[in-house]
Subunit: 200 residues, 2 copies
DNA sequence: TATAAAAAACCGTCCAGTCTGTTTTTAACA
DNA sequence: TGTTAAAAACAGACTGGACGGTTTTTTATA
């Protein structure tokens, strides 16, 4: 690869990463192009050279974030499948992710999309692809359930964690969330088939 | 009551209501004082006369919203208690609320609070009071459960609905959400004691 | 030298908060 | 009761700053 091309790619990468940091730390309506540029240690000119608008930048950053989440999750589910980690630990991992950067950025983005049609249509295919990937993962997580049942149970789980993530803004009380999570683990366990050879 | 006082109260009420409408329709970072004033059919001068800052306005509007939700919910739970409506219908009512104005405005506010310490501390007592009221309501909803169990189950429920509310931004598919909600109703039902005289 | 990348100056817009002026209501008092 | 002064409610112009996007200039590579 040519040197110029390398440098260009590196700059893009730095800017995207910085955008995620700023989104998570400052929130969308405190995010400005100069801030992102400064976080990326790049001039505003360089930023606008690579990204034609703020919306485009954010959309691409979002894509990076969702991809990383899917990869992490896939690895975790593989571990469950191979018996390396328990289902409970896998859920803990998802909760960790959902109470951290991913979910907050997602929220910022979702609210923006809610009020800006153009942005929303740019983002919708991305989100749909994300959910399709998730659905595949859920099926692999619960091979003993029907695909539909696995998806419903895990969509419940994800939405529960989403809600908990939201509440965690105002309620910084790990024991409260742990209790909820433990209760949910129990309930989820009750929903799994006990035997080996039947589909629930 | 003196006429001036009446007029003053009416203006405040109009502005607060308009603020909620704008928050829900336009989102926080498209909300400006002139927009709220125009929505309320009041001059910007009148608005600033009654509310010393944008943050104060939003905080007070939030208070109105939460109070109304608590009242509605309390009435609904009374209906369940009196056998006028089923638990399922009560949940439907909460879901209706959560997929509407209340929750979206709450989200906007929560994200703002997440990044602005002063705003957050102004809002925290309000939110805590709100949750305390909710906890009382949950106990009354499930008199056959221990208070702790009732609260855990309903906090799970609320967080599930929160998450579903969030997802509804991108996924406008009522049947999907209905399936989730039905599944949850079943699960919740399984968690309730069958007998009459024991605490679970 | 030609071209891509990066930097920085610049412009138009928007908005919260301030300030000044005007109208309406209330209170005091002769 | 009629008059007037004070206070409250309201209206709108203005300001200072932030920001997104554009354009121009400089630098580095091929």
């Amino acid at each position: 690869m040519k040197w110029q091309q390398q440098k260009s790619l590196a700059t893009r990468e730095k800017v995207l990463r910085a955008a995620l940091v700023c989104l998570e730390r400052d929130g969308f309506h405190h995010l400005s192009l100069v801030r992102v540029a400064s976080e990326a240690e790049v001039s505003k000119g360089a930023l606008t050279h690579h990204f034609s608008s703020k919306d485009e930048l954010i959309t691409l950053a979002m894509e990076v974030l969702l991809d990383e989440f899917v990869q992490t999750l896939r690895a975790s589910v593989d571990d469950v499948h191979a018996g390396r980690v328990s289902l409970d630990e896998c859920l803990d991992g998802i909760w960790h992710f959902m109470s951290g950067q991913l979910y907050m950025v997602t929220l910022e983005i979702a609210l923006k999309a809610r009020h800006e049609a153009a942005f929303k249509s740019a983002l919708t295919p991305l989100v749909q692809h994300f959910h399709a990937q998730l659905n595949d993962i859920w099926i692999r997580l619960f091979p003993d359930l029907t695909p539909e049942r696995a998806q419903v149970l895990m969509n419940l789980t994800m939405n529960l964690l989403r809600g908990m993530g939201t509440q965690s803004v105002f309620r910084e009380d790990p024991s409260y969330f742990n209790e909820l999570l433990d209760t949910w683990k129990n309930i989820l366990d009750q929903q799994l088939p006990r035997g080996k050879d039947h589909k629930y």
